[in-house]
Symmetry: C2
Subunit: 312 residues, 2 copies
Amino acid sequence: MAEGLIANRLALIGIGLIGSSIARAARERGLVREIVVQTRSPATLERAKELGLGDHYTLDMAEAAKDADVVIASVPVGASEEVAKAIAPALKAGAIVSDVGSVKMSVVRQMAPHLPSSVHFVPAHPIAGTEHSGPDAGLADLYVNRWCILTPLPDTDPAAVEKLSALWRGMGANVETMTPEHHDLVLAITSHVPHLIAYNIVGTAQHLGEVTKSEVIQYSAGGFRDFTRIAASDPTMWRDIFLHNKDAVLEMLGRFSEDLTALQRMIRYGDGNGLFDLFTRTRAIRRSIIDKGQDAPEADFGRHKIAAKAET
Amino acid sequence: MAEGLIANRLALIGIGLIGSSIARAARERGLVREIVVQTRSPATLERAKELGLGDHYTLDMAEAAKDADVVIASVPVGASEEVAKAIAPALKAGAIVSDVGSVKMSVVRQMAPHLPSSVHFVPAHPIAGTEHSGPDAGLADLYVNRWCILTPLPDTDPAAVEKLSALWRGMGANVETMTPEHHDLVLAITSHVPHLIAYNIVGTAQHLGEVTKSEVIQYSAGGFRDFTRIAASDPTMWRDIFLHNKDAVLEMLGRFSEDLTALQRMIRYGDGNGLFDLFTRTRAIRRSIIDKGQDAPEADFGRHKIAAKAET
């Protein structure tokens, strides 16, 4: 699957789950000659070294960006402007600057004004991840069969867009292009609002008086535990996502609440047919997601196998 | 782990995911001598025969219940009264009658008045399942390390409660006892409201104008797909749960909506600290669920392994 060498020097600003997965994938698939790893925390940098994620290591963003052909920032969305400011003076002409943020309009607003016109800015967002964080959480196959959305600006050089696409395809991803505006709307409904309601139900369960916390935990296999996975995602990353995609999130949340009120009314007035109709329609979308390879068909995510193993 | 023979003849009224998992577990672990399988649908009964789930097969509930030591109804909650009426005349003295419904107050109201005083009624609810339905979906290890809640009435014979407990423990479950009222409150927050909001977000995503259905499916790995699993559960079963646990569901839903409004307000006014605090607290509950063996610690439910396999 590897498409051969795509760039000489790749600089990774931030080496958490996403950045370290890029490091592992790019290395394993021979997509780049050298990887420079940068992070602000000395302890994390030390850990990245122990894991052998790069060839050069530094705490300094400008130093990391110097001589890089491709720079990818994998930092919380709110830190994007700071990264752009720091790397701008060090970038070589013709370099590609990209990111992995879950919000795109805000990243463009934060980064574009600081980058020199001699570099190519191609914002990107791989739709992949797990609930774990940090350099140890990275996986070389995290992007396989997942989608990566690029949101280049109208005047971006097509060759630069193609080069970044090739890098993502090389890591196993499918690549799609759209505007930052449309990206932010699509992600609000497919990712941001789902995370918000998962955080919310877990929060509601935590401060009940009549039902104890240990009961919630004990009986979570009834459905609740599915929500706790995404409600365990990195708090800083998600705080920034909600603050930086405010308009689209509030819009989609408004529709969600409207629909939930209608559903609540069906329950109150005993509208069994209305409930049955909705529950039948929602089944179909699950099948489509499995058909398109975006989820596993194993019952209960294959958890019963883990339970059975635990017994023996 | 098998605790030996617990009953001679077990009658299963309904042979879907839950009933057929009981059949498989009881057989594999030698907990009963004979299993009688009953279902209303001739096609399903035929399939149960092909799968070899029982020793006797019938479409008639009374015939199934005759001579049984333990009768377990695994039917949608709304069908409970019909089952009680049908089996009551056929039950032998001393038989244990139980069920697996996700709502307990309503099941007690529907069944207790019809059962003769010569039998022991012990309502039960195993907190286990998958998103699949029907006799093929059953798993012999579905109940291993899961909880089964019994809600006996105050005057129920303790020996009958112990016998049913032994049957569930024999299938690998942990058994807990509580009142039907408390059960219904606990399940409203750990199962019923989570299912309702999962159905709801999938519904909201289906009728967006700006974002197409195929985009929702394509980019579902961002969080949305976790919800589609439980929103693919059996529609009849879930319609009945919401109609029969109305009060507790409306109460918990009210609290969920209140909390969501507060969260929405934090986003609107940019309260980053408030968001960060909640997102940090919710992480802890996930860890407890994994520590208590009620979920798997594998990142992303181990989905990346499935994705990687798909590539090769």
